[in-house]
Assembly symmetry: C2
Homo-oligomer: 107 residues x 2
Amino acid sequence: MGRFTRHVFICNNQRKEDDPRGCCQSRGAMDLLDHIKKRVHDSGLKGKIRINKAGCLDACQYGPSMVVYPDDVWYSPQTVEDMEEIFTEHLQNGRVVERLVIDFSRK
Amino acid sequence: MGRFTRHVFICNNQRKEDDPRGCCQSRGAMDLLDHIKKRVHDSGLKGKIRINKAGCLDACQYGPSMVVYPDDVWYSPQTVEDMEEIFTEHLQNGRVVERLVIDFSRK
């Protein structure tokens, strides 16, 4: 067992507005981060599940992007509802939310 | 196989100077980050090994702190030489550098 049962990194990168890649922060990553941090805290999972901001995860085109370790599952949540599903399904119950998993083979 | 062979997160947190916990940034984390990023780039490992800044990893007392996923190995490198050893031994050759591993059982 590692230090945390699950350790989540959410891209917090910000680029200039005219950058064609866009960036996770302009796509609402911070609101999604706030939501999942609060859920972890309110569920008494602090110390077991850790949520961290991270620099650019090199998944800009799928942003907001995030990764759950040690599972190594990458997600592209677009809404608070998506993030809620990742929290309840994956972080709490260990079930990967397939519909939100990033498919790196496309694009 | 995950997206990256190894994904490294280095704590980049900065606290006020009078905070008793100290912080990784004031202990030189950024120089260590710059070193390992450059080594990955110069070794042609970009795309296989990813180095990211992260928010507080909750290992302040061992700082500068970092974690290598998916291995889930936590390190406390104090010098550029320490970081170089983590790069050549662990990231390139998959051998954990035991002397630098954080022992969370001690405070």
